[in-house]
């Protein structure tokens, strides 16, 4: 017998509960913060943290798809962010005179996303056909390579058109010309057009993409390939293709996050997107729980804000931050606490 469910019942059933919670959290956070912002009650510190927080959220949601849902370790998420960031900054810089800010921001994010997706696709072709931890190795190298490439890249434009040079900038700019990427100095003089609303929309977009992928036929194939490769192959799933899907979407989201990030600061150097940033995002994902999008949302926000909230501790803040990370790791991995927590959840449900 099939009973008819109320709307609330549908929203909270197994298939939908996780995304209902995600969207609710984002919506509530957005409304509260926006009210605080408009009434001038949000401190300058938090106002400045809003956009980078959304950037890390998008990158972390993407990475969770790759690491949690697809089960392939990716150590180069910051490298993908760098590709998106610098291409986004270039697009915005080139179109500065002709396109108003909001469409330009959207365009920059789209270009950053597509370019990064393409780069991810190229990397995925050889690597995802292999079994084992090869993606981790290759993305680790990719992150370092991208950073070093951008450090040696010179992009400028003037009245004669776009100029690109590598290692040595041997071009003479006409008066009024401007560097978009200036080698080790990175992107300077970028117009800051990113804002919190755009960031929130991007987070919602990332959630829609990831949830729709997870709860689709392809999503089940991705998880099947993660759980048992041989069994998945035996029922005709193309492993390389499904893993590629998760990887490319993850890279594309990192690219979009990067573009938004790049357009939020007037200066950005490539060394920002080094190995440490990749690991930072991975920490957000792992501590939030692999494959758990809500966990990622919460842990990203908490772990991103923590070093800033600890500023009051002065010299000890990074020390305390490290200690808190260790404590979270120990506590969340403790079997006793986990069984207690799940027992508590079962009790509540009953």
């Amino acid at each position: 017998m099939k009973e008819k469910k109320s709307i609330f019942g549908i929203l909270m059933d197994n298939r939908h509960r996780s995304r209902t919670i995600s969207y609710t959290m984002v919506a509530v956070a957005y409304i509260v913060l926006e009210i605080l912002l408009k009434t001038g009650n949000l401190s300058s510190l938090f106002t400045g943290l809003l956009v980078p927080a959304t950037c890390y959220l998008v990158a972390a949601i993407g990475l969770n798809l790759n690491v949690g849902v697809s089960g392939e370790l990716n150590l180069g998420q910051a490298g993908f962010m760098a590709v998106g960031a610098f291409s986004g900054v270039c697009v915005s810089g080139l179109l500065k005179a002709s396109v108003p800010a909001i469409p330009r921001l959207i365009l920059a994010i789209i270009v950053g996303m597509l370019l990064t997706a393409f780069v991810g696709f190229l990397i995925g072709i050889p690597v995802l056909k292999l079994q084992g931890d090869y993606l981790a190795i290759v993305t680790l190298a990719f992150g370092q390579i991208v950073m070093n490439l951008i450090m040696n890249l010179y992009v400028a434009f003037d009245s004669t058109g776009l100029k690109v040079a590598f290692v040595e900038n041997n071009f003479e700019l006409q008066p009024g010309g401007k560097y978009l990427i200036n080698g080790p100095m990175g992107a300077t003089g970028t117009e800051r057009i990113a804002n919190f609303t755009a960031g929130t929309i991007l987070v919602v977009f990332a959630l829609i993409v990831v949830y729709n992928l997870i709860y689709s036929r392809n999503g089940r194939a991705i998880m099947a390939a993660r759980d048992n490769r041989i069994a998945a192959e035996s029922i005709g799933i193309n492993i390389a293709k499904t893993k590629m899907m998760a990887f490319v979407v993850s890279a594309a989201l990192a690219g979009a996050a990067g573009a938004l990030y790049g357009l939020n600061y007037s200066t950005m150097v490539a060394s920002k997107f080094d190995y440490n940033t990749s690991i930072l995002i991975l920490v957000y994902v792992v501590l939030g729980g692999l494959g758990n999008i809500n966990g990622t949302l919460i842990s990203t926000v908490v772990l991103f804000l923590l070093p800033q909230l600890l500023r009051g501790l002065q010299d000890y803040r990074m020390l305390i931050y490290a200690v808190i990370l260790i404590v979270i790791m120990l506590v969340t991995n403790n079997e006793f606490l986990r069984t207690k927590a799940s027992a508590f959840r079962r009790k509540k449900k009953a």
Binding site: L45, M151, M185, Y265, Q308, Q314
Partner: protein, 411 residues
């Protein structure tokens, strides 16, 4: 249950470790007040009386921490001295930015929440360039002790156009150092005629100086026979030195920091290659490198605004007081620049009659007027003036290392 106790023990041990480490750190600095909420503003304001709030950020942690800490210590020292004089009163809030643009913007938010009225900007260049537009937007006056890149004071750093107008520099800008070096070398042909340059091409500081050095060298008719680069934490320079030697270079220009410079000197000595070495202000500190044979630095030229063993009274007292505060560390030029910043601000505030109840925009306008018209004498130079773009004019001092000490070189 056993597992539970194990975890509890682990957590407890982590906490203990943190506590013991924190205890080792000694007493925390006191003069900076940190706050997350605007509510704290009122409290600290009441506690400090009518003090003008100065904010600043720099790397207090991470690989560049030595610069941020030097600025912080010197600025705190200068603030205390200024306050003790009884005239204009300052209070200082200094935040960590880890030499990162994102963190610098966050630190700016924290400072703004803390009620900052005048700023020391950011200690290093890249974070400085990120926060300068924010200072312009909010019309808060800023003078950076050591953010030497032109992009700190210009919206278009490469073209040197679009000056922010309210962000000033206490240090030389990178281009000035590059062209100053080239001019000095051209004026002293006895130093050498065939020039080799080894620079760090992933560092804006090094690259910026090299670019202008090269341009100025071309106009002065200097011959650059070799350009070598390195990046990151590289420590083997045999290839670059070999190439420089093969090209017949007799003058080695090193627009880099002292750590790689010390390695270059050591390796050149091992190869039996003895060119004249010329450095810029980043070379300051080479005599303090651990394990470095300072005899190798004999005869090294460097262009620097500040030398810690100068004989004048001002420098002597500064070095003495700084050492007392910083566990015997000798102050570098970052510290000297920061010290000068506070005194220059004090001089300008006195002259303009700035009080702590004025708005940031009013203070900013008055300070810009003062700085563009006043002359300042400090540790890093005398008769310093600023133009309306915020660039400082002071004479770079060429120094030569003789018997393990800096000695002024021939003008």
């Amino acid at each position: 249950m056993k597992k539970f106790w194990k975890t509890t023990l682990a957590v407890a041990m982590t906490a203990c470790m943190a506590m013991s480490l924190a205890a080792c750190g000694g007493s925390a600095s006191s003069s900076s007040t940190s706050s997350d909420a605007p509510a704290a503003e009122a409290e600290s304001g009441a506690a400090e009386g009518g003090a003008i709030k100065i904010g600043g950020s720099g790397p207090l942690t991470g690989p560049a921490a030595v610069y941020g800490n030097a600025v912080k210590i010197a600025a705190e020292m200068a603030v205390e001295e200024v306050n003790a004089k009884g005239g204009v009163q300052f209070s200082l809030q200094f935040e960590d930015d880890k030499h990162d643009a994102e963190e610098a913007a966050t630190a700016y938010g924290t400072l703004k929440d803390g009620g900052m009225q005048i700023s020391l900007g950011a200690v290093t260049s890249a974070p400085g360039a990120a926060v300068s537009p924010l200072y312009q937007e909010d019309q808060t006056f800023a003078i950076t002790p050591s953010g030497s890149s032109p992009s700190v004071i210009y919206a278009d750093g490469e073209g040197m156009t679009g000056a922010y107008g309210n962000v000033f520099q206490m240090c030389f800008s990178d281009p000035n150092q590059g062209s100053g070096s080239a001019t000095y070398i051209a004026a002293h042909p006895d130093l050498g005629s065939k020039i080799a340059v080894i620079y760090k091409n992933d560092d804006p500081y090094s690259k910026g100086i090299f670019d202008t050095f090269k341009a100025q060298a071309a106009t002065e008719g200097l011959e650059i026979v070799y350009e070598g680069t390195f990046k990151g934490e590289e420590s083997d320079f045999n290839v670059q030195l070999g190439d420089a030697q093969a090209a017949g270079a007799d003058l080695l220009f090193l627009p880099i920091y002292y750590t790689p410079a010390s390695q270059i000197l050591t390796q050149a000595d091992k190869m039996g290659y003895k060119p004249t070495v010329f450095g810029v202000d980043g070379m300051d500190g080479i005599l303090g490198v651990e394990g470095f044979d300072t005899a190798l630095a004999e005869g090294v030229y460097l262009l620097t605004p500040f030398v810690a063993n100068a004989e004048d009274e001002l420098t002597k007292t500064f070095v003495e007081n700084y050492k007392a505060r910083a566990n015997g560390e000798v102050p570098n030029q970052f510290a000297a620049d920061a010290y000068d910043c506070i005194y220059a601000l004090a001089q300008a505030c006195e002259a303009a009659g700035i009080t702590s109840d004025m708005s940031n925009a009013d203070i900013c306008a008055a300070m810009v007027e003062q700085f563009t018209t006043m002359t300042f004498n400090g540790l890093t130079g005398s008769d310093m003036t600023w133009n309306e773009n915020g660039e400082v004019t002071k004479a770079p001092k060429a120094m030569i290392i003789e018997n393990g000490e800096y000695v002024p070189a021939a003008e």
